[in-house]
């Protein structure tokens, strides 16, 4: 298994896996907090149309996927802001439209094949070029910078939109920023996990971490750690066994979720009464 890491494609795949493992749960924790766990899925499906267009016109897939994903995510957010029910429907329409558009354009492309489509749907170890990797590094860096600049605002809006408005925090700007960051994450994950499962690496590590954490920050930290471990181990397994990396990574993350959920039950039973007890201890 170690020998394979001497190859350039394997090294690029490992770097891409590290990036998506670290970054996806960081954005995922904001999505879960706002009950937008499926936004990444919708965005991923729309990104497939971008990939399909890029293959059809022989353009670079990453910028097109990013553009399509960003347009999709912003549209969902704007519609959701008007009406929650309409937002739900918009998400469903994007699921269908995104995947139909992607499959159609890839089929129409002169050099199309099911292998090309599968590599975007479920991730592939060999498709990432050096320029692709550079794009992924830049997008990941932009996501981290955005969190440094607007993290407090994004968190406050997620905690309570009304109070955030009273405090003059630009709620709409923050919602759109999160949509764009989600689109960026989808594109970073496209190469490793694939567009159909990229949302899982955003959400499942967060779902696992929050079984045992007590704060947003620790959920983000441990979510990222779980994402990183799942991505690297999943990738290494897919090097040795002939399976695509995306499903392997997601199954590992789900396994961690199940283990943490089982562990959390007795731990939470022990800790919760203590918190309630405080009220009696401190009350006069």
């Amino acid at each position: 298994m170690i020998e394979i890491l001497q190859y350039d494609f394997a090294q690029r795949a490992v770097i891409a896996a590290v990036l998506i493992g670290l970054v996806a749960p960081i954005i995922g924790v904001f999505l879960v907090q706002r009950r937008l766990a499926l936004l990444g899925d919708g965005t991923g499906h729309v990104a497939l149309t971008g990939v399909g267009l890029a293959i059809f016109f022989n353009w670079a897939p990453i910028p097109m996927a990013l553009l399509a994903a960003a347009i999709g995510a912003i549209s969902i957010e704007i519609i959701r802001d008007k009406s929650k029910a309409a937002g739900d429907l918009a998400l469903a329409l994007m699921f269908y439209g995104g995947i139909a558009g992607g499959v159609m354009f890839v089929s129409l492309a002169p050099a199309s094949s099911s292998t090309t489509l599968n590599s975007y749907l479920f991730g592939s170890l060999t498709t990432a070029s050096n320029s692709d990797l550079l794009a992924l590094v830049l997008i990941s860096f932009a996501i981290i910078v955005a969190l440094f600049l607007w993290g407090r605002q994004m968190f406050a809006v997620g905690v309570d939109t009304d109070v955030a408005k009273v405090l003059k925090i630009p709620v709409r700007f923050n919602a759109i920023l999160l949509a764009i960051l989600s689109a960026g994450t989808v594109v970073v994950g496209m190469r490793v996990v694939g567009l159909l499962l990229v949302s899982a690496i955003m959400i499942v590590p967060v779902a696992a971490a929050q079984q045992l954490t007590k704060s947003f920050k620790s959920t983000m930290f441990y979510g990222s750690l779980i994402g990183l471990i799942s991505s690297i181990v999943g990738l290494l397994i897919s090097f040795s066994v002939d399976v695509p990396p995306g499903p392997t990574i997601v199954i590992l993350a789900l396994l961690i979720f199940v283990i943490f959920t089982v562990l959390a039950a007795p731990i939470n039973r022990r800790t919760r009464p203590k918190v309630v007890k405080h009220e009696h201890e401190i009350s006069p």
């Binding site: 905690v159 309570d160 009304d162 109070v163 009273v166 405090l167 007590k214 704060s215 009220e279």
Partner: protein, 222 residues
């Protein structure tokens, strides 16, 4: 309707009379068709009736309170050391320092309400608006809430309260505004306590969901 600085005003009325709507209009959360709202300060604290439904991500008490800080636009979400000191200070004031790092969603309703108040108070607002602050919380938390608001009032801060049940907060209230049922948003009483006896019917009408309807509008003192 004019509310003076340092006044503690309670807005009462039957369900559907527009109490919460009025509060949200004052806060700028809802547009208004006619008229205008002007305040002598932009530093307004708001304590909603309940925590919004979330996706299940734990939030520590300290993190929650940090969202009430008026910070620079550019700011990472984690708490800086000077902010942590402010949070410690405000939690100490309300007697909940020991739960600073606890998950907010694991606390009792009474503790959550006090933490919500701490979040509003951390930026030392000039005007404080509360939506049903005593609803659904235990008597100890209600007493604690009364003490917090009593201390806050001493600093000549304006407090506007929308409530079904004055009860424990009654001694702090300077003025009561009762909204009418016939015309949504109309004021049928604006004055001190106790309110006139004929408003007892509104009290009974409006408080189908509360336990003690008589004391709600201060009728115990009438």
């Amino acid at each position: 309707m004019d509310i003076n600085q340092g006044e503690f005003v309670a807005i009462l009325g039957a369900n559907g009379t527009g109490k919460t709507t009025l509060l949200k209009v004052i806060l700028g959360l809802l547009p208004i068709a006619h008229g205008s709202v002007s305040t002598n300060s932009d530093n307004i604290g708001y304590i909603p009736q309940r925590l919004p439904i979330q996706g299940g991500v734990p939030i520590s008490v300290a993190e929650y309170i940090s969202t009430g800080l008026r910070v620079k636009k550019i700011n990472p979400f984690w708490i800086k050391s000077f902010e942590s000191k402010l949070i410690t200070q405000v939690l100490n004031t309300i007697g909940l320092l020991s739960i600073k790092n606890s998950n907010l969603y694991n606390l009792s309703a009474g503790q959550q309400r006090r933490v919500m108040i701490a979040r509003a108070l951390i930026s030392n607002p000039d005007i404080l608006l509360l939506d049903e602050p005593t609803a659904g919380i235990d008597s100890e938390s209600q007493k604690s809430l009364k003490d917090i608001l009593s201390n806050y009032k001493k600093n000549l801060k304006t407090i506007i309260l929308v409530t079904h049940e004055l009860e424990i907060l009654e001694p702090l209230v300077d003025r009561v505004i009762v909204l009418g049922t016939k015309i949504r948003g109309s004021v049928i009483y604006d004055g001190g306590l106790p309110v006139p006896k004929h408003l007892n019917s509104i009290a009974h009408h409006s408080h189908e969901e509360t336990i003690n309807t008589k004391s709600i509008l201060g009728m115990n003192n009438a």
